[in-house]
């Protein structure tokens, strides 16, 4: 395992893209930063600019407004940038599937590296999703 990849797995900066969610997933994501779970001990930080991000968290159903924005934000991110889809809406549309303004699942718009199901997923489930993503990164090389 080379040094660059090792440093990347120890320091994940996360950008949170809310593609019109109902905010339950967002609240659970913020729970990760609170004292109970404290993901900063693994080097995970929430950043404000997509230019600083290593991981793009997507919550909610991409619709006609947020779908093109999601594509644009992904194109603006510095590579390597990994995408994690959080919650049932991002995975398959959940109760909004087939609605008139939904353009599709997140992985129909941008490539997704990890899926975290749940409505909303527990913070433990999100940590498990990130751990699986990191393990797949380590396994690749």
């Amino acid at each position: 395992m080379n040094l660059k990849l090792k440093a990347l797995t120890k320091s994940i900066w996360v950008f949170h893209f809310a593609a019109s969610p109902c905010n339950n997933c967002d609240i659970e994501i913020l729970d990760l930063l609170t004292p109970r779970h404290d993901v900063e001990r693994f080097g995970i930080q929430l950043v404000g600019s997509i230019r600083h991000a290593d991981v793009l968290l997507v919550t909610g159903v991409p619709n006609r407004k947020t779908g093109p924005k999601l594509k644009e934000v992904y194109a603006q991110s510095p590579k390597p940038c990994f995408v994690v889809a959080i919650g049932s809406c991002a995975l398959g549309g959940c109760t909004f599937r087939g609605s008139y303004n939904v353009v599709g699942r997140v992985d129909e718009i941008i490539p997704v590296d990890a899926y975290v199901p749940g409505c909303p997923p527990k913070p433990e489930a999100m940590i498990m999703g990130i751990v699986k993503l990191l393990n797949s990164l380590k396994g690749k090389t």
């Binding site: 040094l3 660059k4 090792k6 440093a7 990347l8 120890k10 320091s11 004292p35 404290d38 900063e40 001990r41 693994f42 080097g43 950043v47 404000g48 600019s49 230019r51 600083h52 290593d54 603006q76 510095p78 590579k79 390597p80």
Partner: protein
């Protein structure tokens, strides 16, 4: 020898490593204050190496300025570290007026941030740049007045090593009334120079994302972060050498550095962010008036 001084010992490498560790102490203490566990000790090294390996995105306009600005800040901080270290190590080789050179060089990291933010042609970055300009205008006045009190107290000495020698003979400048006022003003200006809470409005994450740094990615961002971490070493050492150097042995200097670091972290963790107009009013109002009183006290010998 001078290249060794610039690149390895008091200069680049030493300051960078100590700065990253000091910045880790800051993050760890912040986490403990908030009842969290905090990152491991190598966190800043991992962040730096990771950023070096990322893609660098450069805006179409102003490519040269965008990429040269972080290096400008890094070079000036390295020069300050070398000048300060050499005035402790080789007193005979320092030159007259290096105090004034250090004051000028300490302004350049802020100017580099303003240049880089302006070159990135992003509206939020320009908001960050304008706040940084106002902040520089605010804190430079009390900072220079505080240094002027040191010069007045020591009888017109403008060589850092002469000021250290003066303090070794007649006690540290911090011990006098005017020196104590100047020291408090200098600590508050240092907090603003570092861009820490309560004066972090140019990088305010909650309102203007990352502010001045919003368009930076990869290696230039790593250099900006490194510059800030090196300032966390250089500025406290500068304050120690001009205010508090009655006994410049290594143990005492390290102890005083730790005390100043704790003060910085405590100010950072017990204050909310102020607006830019509040910061300007704070620095030009009470702090400048206190500094002018300090100058008068220094002139009449207190």
């Amino acid at each position: 020898m001078i290249f060794f001084n610039y690149l390895i010992f008091p200069g680049f490498l030493f300051t960078a490593v100590v700065g990253m560790l000091a910045s880790w102490v800051d993050r760890k203490v912040t986490a403990r204050v908030q009842w969290r566990k905090g990152p491991p000790w190598y966190q800043n090294f991992a962040d730096f190496i990771k950023l070096l390996g990322k893609e660098v995105i450069v805006p179409k306009q102003g490519r040269f300025l965008f990429l040269i600005a972080p290096l400008l800040g890094l070079a000036s901080v390295t020069a300050v570290a070398t000048l300060l270290g050499r005035s402790f190590m080789y007193p005979a080789e320092s030159f007259l007026g290096d105090l004034i050179v250090v004051i000028y060089l300490l302004t350049i990291p802020a100017i580099a941030l303003i240049l880089g933010a302006s070159a990135s042609s992003n509206p939020l970055a320009s908001v960050g740049a304008s706040r940084e300009i106002k902040l520089v205008l605010s804190y430079e006045l009390p900072f220079i007045l505080a240094v002027a009190i040191v010069i007045l107290k020591s009888g017109g000495l403008i060589r850092i090593n002469d000021i250290i020698k003066y303090q070794m003979i007649s006690g540290s400048i911090l011990g006098s009334a005017s020196g104590a006022i100047a020291f408090v003003a200098a600590i508050l200006s240092m907090q603003a120079k570092l861009g820490y809470v309560p004066f972090d409005m140019s990088e305010a994450e909650q309102e203007i994302m990352a502010g001045a740094l919003i368009e930076y990615s990869g290696a230039p961002l790593a250099v900006f972060k490194l510059t800030k971490q090196m300032l966390l070493v250089v500025l406290p050492f500068f304050l120690i050498s001009i205010f508090w150097a009655h006994n410049p042995s290594t143990l005492w200097i390290v102890l005083k550095y730790v005390i100043l670091l704790v003060v910085i972290i405590l100010i950072k963790n017990t204050n909310p962010r102020v607006r830019i107009d509040q910061a300007t009013r704070f620095f030009w109002g009470p702090i400048t008036i206190a500094c002018i009183i300090g100058v008068i006290l220094a002139l009449i010998g207190y």
